[in-house]
């Protein structure tokens, strides 16, 4: 059946949430929004869920018809690989080139991990990456929230020791090369930052 969702006048991300609920309930729907940002966000989310979208503009509003794909609207591209997802932090910066930029990027990245799906299962910190989990790090609260959400944070003990940070770990558990190697080799996918 087709449900009509009138999301005119609603602030982001309300239209997206309403559409997602309909998709999750297994229903096709027509979403009405009154601005382009909402139209784009609804379409992007629907496509990420394997749905097709068809937009018609009428009287300054967008009528978005969302239909589930042949596979029943299940997620296609984001299907997790078999086995856990491991995100590896070998450095306390993201990318090379400029250190100030790199530390802004890694903060934005870790913040974003808490807001998107799929979540990783394990996060591993080694070499200068351990500084993300110790005193003075700007991402402690984000990491703590991820850990409370059930993600395992493994922090290389050798590295903490090397940097003189062993007593200053604020989040995650002190780990060793056995745990780290096992986590990486039994992973469905490893994402290296």
């Amino acid at each position: 059946m087709t449900q009509e969702i009138d999301a005119r006048g609603l602030a982001c991300p309300q239209p997206v949430i309403m559409t997602k609920k309909a998709i999750d309930a297994g229903e096709d729907c027509t979403v009405i929004v009154d601005n382009e940002a909402a139209r784009d966000n609804v379409c992007r989310m629907a496509k990420s869920q394997g749905c097709e979208t068809n937009v018609e503009e009428r009287d300054g509003c967008f009528h978005i018809r969302v239909t589930r794909g042949a596979d029943g609207g299940k997620e296609k591209d984001t299907a997790p690989a078999a086995g856990p997802t491991v995100v590896v932090f070998p450095c306390d910066r993201m990318g090379r080139g400029d250190d100030d930029l790199g530390q802004i990027l890694i903060r934005a990245f870790i913040h974003t991990l808490g807001e998107i799906t799929p979540l990783p299962d394990v996060m591993i910190f080694f070499n200068a990456g351990v500084k993300l989990a110790t005193d003075g790090s700007e991402v402690i609260e984000d990491l703590r929230a991820l850990e409370e959400g059930g993600i395992r944070l493994l922090v290389c003990g050798t590295c903490l020791d090397f940097f003189g940070l062993k007593g200053r770990l604020r989040v995650g558990m002190i780990s060793n090369m056995y745990d780290i190697a096992e986590a990486m080799l039994s992973a469905g996918r490893v994402v290296r930052i």
């Binding site: 602030a11 982001c12 991300p13 940002a37 909402a38 784009d40 966000n41 100030d100 930029l101 802004i104 990027l105 903060r107 934005a108 913040h111 974003t112 808490g114 700007e138 609260e141 984000d142 929230a145």
Partner: protein
């Protein structure tokens, strides 16, 4: 995450301005967080600075004349 205050964000025209502004936030000791510009505001890769609504005037004072802002707005 556990914050109950509504947040505002400062948007900049460049990442360098955001970096500079963060130093000013620190100097003024205003609690803040560097986050990516939310998707519903822009699809460009960019960072902004989030802070608690009651600090809005302090933020304006700390940044005034020292850094070029694009906007200060509630984080909807």
């Amino acid at each position: 995450m556990t914050d109950t205050q509504p947040f505002w964000i400062v948007l900049f025209d460049s990442t360098s301005e955001a970096l500079l502004a963060e130093k000013l936030f620190k100097r003024a000791e205003i609690p803040h967080k560097v986050i990516p510009v939310p998707r519903h505001i822009s699809s460009d890769c960019g960072v902004c600075i989030r802070f608690s609504a009651p600090d809005t005037e302090r933020v304006r004072a700390a940044l005034d004349g020292r850094v070029t802002l694009r906007d200060i707005a509630p984080l909807a």
